[in-house]
């Protein structure tokens, strides 16, 4: 099912072109990652999808409808970046209002407020006002807000930025738990996090889609990533390249090697571990595949 379709989409802020002629076609299913450096256009793309801003050129469809369409409202939830809740009202009052605006009765809206706050482990904060919350708690409340009404699509703009590891994990677990009935589109700088959550990855740079990859897609060649402790990288490289079925070996970072091999190879992982043992290399990690970082930034 078509989720998001952008055709020749551009957005300009004065003379600055934030999004440059983007074409994108995403389907419902597993969480989708939106990756890119600061200023790549991720938040602009989210803002366009949510109808906060309007395109300078091109078209957008979400579930086949233009952003802001009344029928979309019950289908989409979002964590917008840099948005703050009303400081005058408690979380319960605000989340209940949002639920009522979506069509729930006052009673059902109160229950919904409690339900979504429970999901982000903040049920105790129901009567608190946003000004009394820490940054991490505010973010979790904003995520709770995105879950109101169980939308089919949830856009999360940097959901774990600035929050502690325990809460970041809670959010990741929540996304994983809900992703069988909701499609998440998650933007983040944390590639390790996205790798654990997402299958499809859209890489934006300078307002353009540079890559769109599926981490589970089968390719003509396959990869192992081997990370070692305190070795001479050049020596390791030359030894690894001599292994049968190995096509190419690259140093991804210090003491980390990405080994490209033919799919027909059998037990190469066993051979790698034996090699480590024979050479006296202490390995830290043997990964079947490449990290998202290596996939996106491989030369």
């Amino acid at each position: 099912m078509s989720l998001i379709k952008c055709q020749q989409l551009s957005r300009r802020y004065g003379s600055h072109l934030a999004l440059d002629n983007i074409n994108l076609d995403l389907t419902t299913g597993q969480p989708i990652a939106l990756v890119g450096p600061n200023g790549a256009g991720k938040t602009t793309l989210f803002s366009l999808l949510l109808g906060y801003i309007h395109p300078s050129a091109g078209s957008i469809e979400v579930f086949g409808l233009p952003p802001g369409h009344p029928q979309l409202r019950s289908k989409i939830g979002a964590l917008p970046q840099d948005a703050k809740l009303d400081p005058d009202f408690t979380l319960e009052q605000q989340l209940s209002l949002f639920a009522q605006l979506r069509g729930m009765s006052a009673k059902a809206a109160k229950q919904e407020a409690l339900r979504v706050l429970t999901l982000v482990d903040l049920a105790d904060s129901l009567k608190q006002k946003p000004t009394t919350l820490s940054h991490g708690m505010s973010k979790r409340v904003a995520i709770a807000q995105a879950l109101i009404g169980e939308p089919e699509l949830i856009l999360l703009d940097e959901p774990t930025a600035g929050i502690d590891p325990a809460n970041a994990r809670l959010i990741r677990d929540l996304i994983s738990k809900l992703s069988d009935r909701t499609t998440f589109v998650v933007s983040s700088h944390n590639l390790d996090e996205l790798e654990r959550l997402c299958d499809q990855v859209v890489f934006l740079e300078r307002g353009q889609v540079k890559q769109q990859v599926s981490l589970s897609a089968t390719t003509e060649t396959q990869y192992f990533t081997l990370q070692l402790q305190a070795v001479d990288d050049q020596t390791v490289l030359s030894v690894l390249r001599q292994l049968p079925d190995v096509l190419q070996v690259n140093v991804a970072s210090q003491h980390a090697f990405v080994i490209e091999y033919q799919p027909s190879a059998t037990a190469l992982d066993v051979a790698l571990l034996q090699l480590c043992h024979q050479q006296g290399w202490r390995y830290r990690l043997l990964l079947n595949g490449r990290s998202l970082e290596d996939t996106l930034f491989a030369q």
Binding site: R73, A83, F98
Partner: protein
């Protein structure tokens, strides 16, 4: 998706929810209650020290003759025809002061929330038409409560002076209240527009000052430069204030046509700007 959300909330219901939230902000939040207290205290001072003294003067047998001699037949002399003198004076003060309160309170409709990003949350759950008109009606409801409270205090003042004035005071109070609200419509609608354009409520107030002073200057220049500039007067809320001072509330509606047209125009422009704005 659960059953509750399958029912798309109607725009009217969303408008009502948003407007009610603004009233709740006034009545249940410290900031709102402080605003309410400040407003009521200010009006109490006006009513106790200006209106009451003016009423005492009006009740003097020679007062009308003195006013006629000094000011001639006109707006002020008509005040002596009111059945309840308190409301005659309240009318004069309300026509002059309530628009200022409407401008100050109406300035916060959009600007601050857009800057804070609160509208990003709201617009995920409600349409822009509901947000715009909900906030406008909320601001009007707040003005209705505030001016209603002062009208009520004026009723009590009249009854305390003469209990036989109870019925006329209630009728007069309700009439004055309704006309004042109609008169305030274009002011609040203008602030809806300016609050969308401005980046803060303070800036919206400054824009309103520029709007009124700039247009007044152009209208004044019409006499010495281009005569059609005088028509700009009809763009300014309050063009009917002078005429309203000279009539009773029951005669007021014929002077409020311009105010209603202005309201529709400002709301249309404001909604157009809000619909096109980035939140």
């Amino acid at each position: 998706m659960n059953q509750a959300t399958e029912l798309h909330s109607s725009t009217v219901r969303q408008i009502s929810l948003i407007a009610t939230t603004e009233v709740r902000r006034l009545l249940s939040q410290t900031k709102g209650l402080v605003t309410l207290a400040a407003y009521v205290m200010l009006w109490l001072l006006i009513l106790l020290f200006l209106v009451r003294d003016a009423v005492n003067l009006m009740l003097h047998p020679d007062a009308k003759d003195i006013v006629m001699q000094v000011l001639g037949e006109g707006a002020m002399s008509n005040l002596f025809n009111w059945p309840v003198e308190e409301f005659a004076m309240y009318w004069v003060f309300a026509l002059g002061l309530q628009p200022m309160f409407a401008i100050l309170l109406g300035a916060g409709q959009f600007a601050d929330d857009i800057q804070r990003g609160t509208f990003r949350f709201l617009s995920l759950h409600a349409s822009r038409i509901a947000l715009f008109f909900g906030r406008f009606l909320g601001a009007m409801a707040v003005m209705a409560l505030l001016s209603g409270a002062t009208s009520l205090v004026t009723m009590v003042m009249a009854m305390v002076r003469d209990i036989h004035l109870a019925l006329p005071a209630v009728i007069c109070g309700l009439q004055v209240w309704l006309v004042i609200l109609l008169m305030l419509l274009p002011y609040v609608a203008l602030m809806s527009l300016l609050s969308v354009i401005a980046s803060s409520s303070k800036q919206a107030v400054l824009y309103s000052v520029l709007f009124f002073t700039g247009l007044s200057l152009l209208v004044w220049l019409a006499d010495v430069t281009v005569a059609p500039l005088a028509y700009l007067e009809y763009v300014m809320p309050g063009t009917e204030t002078q005429q309203l001072m000279g009539v009773m509330p029951t005669q007021a509606p014929i002077f409020l046509k311009v105010a209603l047209i202005q309201t529709v125009a400002f709301l249309a422009l404001g909604f157009y700007a809000f619909k096109r704005s980035d939140v």
